[in-house]
Symmetry: C2
Subunit: 481 residues, 2 copies
């Protein structure tokens, strides 16, 4: 794709558009290794911002980071019956090490419950050792058949939290607390509204008691599972013999939780906000929140303008704003505008001789709108702009999601939506896996969540959307990534 060609539009081909946005903004690239991507500096910078924000939230709630081995003995995976069934088919297996065939093959971790709880069995002796609240930032591998940059790759980066508690109540509280952190991160940092709720048994994590998720609606009205938090009950504690001496002198198995978000979030960010020009990145996660483009014709102008631009850069840096001065020579301002728009820089500051004279600078927003603003107090002003754009992006995404949502839907509406516009479809569910599977077979829609109270319809549906028997719960259906 040449750099000056317009992107395929979202309306024409959403999937082609998505790939072109990534290529144009140099966020990621295909690698020579099947299903594995390269995260390029522009994409990795967004992931680093995400990591920093999430890491702070985890640490503020008492979690510590650690690092567990990449390799898991194949036999470990088999100790929890549902877990091995879910993950074994999609593993990469090391059979040769140091030139010799291994006695026991090693699985490249698809997730680390088994290796981590094997260590917890060693570390946890008494109730005094609980809760144990550990997170790790790591790469994992799942052998995927159809891959898409960021959304589904054979190797991906993620964080996986693994905690151990003395009681079921504490484990449940942790599971929900983390779900809340994920929601807050999605809304406050990614400007991506999410539904929260529980997964049906058919969609839960292999080995979990209960899985909760945050689900977002992309611009093509398909759902993206953006993070999951699992109450593992005592399943892994029993499989790995993680016991502890209780406060009253007895012996119990611990209660575990695990939870994760991944580089998939970068894909969600792209598909939530970007437009036919290219990437739109919420300012709180942008590599550069502000890009300064100096404008000059003659050499005398150049010196003064570049000097002022450097001062402006320093001022903004001192105000804790991530700023880049694009001082490249031999590239016209218009070409720079176009490049930074496709790369998703939230704000552009154009600075020319007339702006200098007027002690102002031209502010252009990636989401539209351009106006001169005074140099005086510019740091504060940009912070106000950042907050405003962050709010505007979230507001627009909420409105779009609501426009794509049908509540109290009938069977016909569900079928019609899945044949056409897509979206979130709310309806009653009898709780029977037969209906869940029939819907999946006939419409390709899955239950995204059994929504948390805040997201439930009023009045609640009384009949199953599919079989018309009594509903035991409300559910949200969508086609999903």
């Amino acid at each position: 794709m040449a750099d000056d060609k317009a992107l395929t539009t979202r309306a024409a081909d959403f999937s082609a558009w998505y790939n072109e946005v990534i290529a144009r903004a140099q966020l990621a690239d295909y690698s020579p290794v099947r299903g594995c991507m390269v995260i390029r500096p522009n994409g990795y910078a967004i992931w680093e911002q995400m990591q920093q924000a999430l890491d702070r939230m985890f640490k503020d709630t008492g979690h510590q980071n650690a690092y567990f081995p990449l390799f898991i003995p194949q036999s470990f995976l088999a100790r929890e019956a549902e877990h091995v069934e879910g993950f074994a088919p999609e593993t990469a297996v090391v059979t040769i090490g140091g030139g010799k065939v291994l006695e026991e093959p090693l699985v490249v971790r698809p997730t680390s419950e088994t290796i981590i709880y094997a260590m917890y069995a060693k570390w946890i002796q008494s109730w005094r050792d609980l809760p144990l609240l550990i997170n790790q930032w790591a790469n994992v591998v799942r052998w995927e058949m159809r891959t898409r940059l960021f959304l589904r790759t054979t190797e991906f980066l993620w964080q996986e939290g693994h905690t151990a508690h003395a009681t079921e109540e504490e484990a449940e509280a942790e599971t929900l607390m983390i779900l809340g952190i994920y929601r807050r991160f999605a809304e406050e940092w990614m400007a991506m509204p999410v539904l929260t709720g529980r997964k049906s048994d058919g969609e839960k994590f292999a080995g979990a008691l209960r899985t909760y998720a945050i689900e977002a609606l992309m611009q093509d009205n398909k759902a993206l599972q953006a993070g999951t938090s699992h109450n593992l009950g005592q399943n892994f504690a029993k499989a790995f013999d993680v016991t502890f001496q209780t406060a009253d002198g007895g012996l119990g198995h611990v209660w575990n939780t695990s939870w994760g978000v991944s580089t998939r979030l970068v894909g969600g960010l792209i598909m939530t906000h970007s437009d036919d020009v290219g990437l739109v990145c919420p300012p709180r996660l942008a590599q550069y929140q502000v890009v300064i483009v100096p404008i000059y014709r003659k050499d005398e102008e150049r010196v003064a303008v570049i000097e002022a631009a450097e001062r402006l850069q320093q001022t903004l840096r001192a105000a804790n704003i991530r700023v880049h001065l694009d001082a490249r020579d031999g590239l016209k301002p218009g070409a720079k505008y176009y490049e930074w728009e496709s790369k998703g820089a939230p704000f552009r500051l154009e600075l020319g001789p007339r702006d200098l004279a007027a002690e102002q600078v031209m502010l252009a927003r990636r989401t539209g709108g351009k106006e001169p603003i005074p140099m005086a107090g510019i740091g504060d002003r940009i912070h106000v702009e950042i907050d405003a754009m962050q709010q505007a992006l979230l507001g627009a995404a909420v409105a779009r999601r609501e426009a794509g949502t049908i509540r109290g839907a009938t069977r016909e509406q569900l079928v019609e939506a899945m044949n056409g516009a897509g979206g979130f479809v709310y309806g009653g569910w009898c709780g029977d896996a037969t209906c869940e599977n029939d819907i999946k077979d006939q419409t390709k829609a899955t239950i995204r969540v059994l929504p948390d109270e805040e997201f439930r319809s009023d009045p609640a549906p009384t009949r199953c959307i599919w079989c018309n028997r009594d509903a035991v719960t409300e559910a949200v259906w969508a086609k999903a990534y």
Copy 2:
């Protein structure tokens, strides 16, 4: 090892002492996977501090982070002849993916030159794309026969920088600039003095033109290679066809560098400073620079002391000091002192009712010395203490290294040192690999570096330490980890 048992002393058994320091401070643990360790939260926190400091230094010098695949097609490794010879024997190989035998096996990266330069060939077209300055934080796997926690593990964490330049001079300047960053990090953050210099051809990186290294001397007088920076010349550019259009319209191969430090640094930190009580951690890298231990007997005392301790914690946090308040009930102050000493906390603040009344707190240094200091201005005082301890640790380590160094050594002195006390032995070298190999066979010492000018002896040695022929350079020998 029970928690109240004294450690094996360094004098009695350095290697046992090292393992016990790690176990007692809960820095790392053996995993069920051969040669792979678990980095526990206390150890990972040190690594995180190291990462932050290094990452800032890399970014301040224009580097960006990215992420490349874990897996490398086996054929890629073979494209650079020396590289495959060096690394192929120690690789872990994935032969099965998604339940099927792979057509081409995938190597788990032992280092990423090959996969990265394959991507650079795609990304670099013209001199305008240069220099390309990328770093990645990642895990790598080398199938090691004998492993030791942090120092040599099958999987380890590291950063690997990979740059491409238009000229040999620029590549050499980058290689040396990074060596300078590594040295500065070792000295200013780890308080670990290092020699810098070039590796002999026998010790250089497989595929490099020239390898430079920082080398430190541990308390047992063995050397630790703590970081390497390679000028790769055009070896990989030619193997992967990384070409660019030069400014004058020609076509050239780029010049590459690569450089890395790893979790091995944590092992170096432990072996540089720790004592027979346990870990000693330089304050700039400590998880908690200050631990507050409240002292009270009666309940009335408790309330007031804990309140004051919390205020103190807030004061220190506001002063950007990493502080932990150990408010555990049911554990005597003495037990807490002992625990935090073995965990390497640089400063302990003891706070009791009498201290409250006197508006002071008792400061105890991990490196010795205890005195009351006033509450007023305590943030500034702790910063002064941090700098002073950092300097004192570096000074002590320099003095120890100098005491363990022999300059202008004879063949007999080299042999005697390697049979006995160890240390850095400086002498002339004829440049012949035969002498290098004979010395290695007979004394187990290797050439650590051909020292940079600053570290060379005056007068320079004129004869080879081994064969007595003319010396072409000075070299530093030591037994090494």
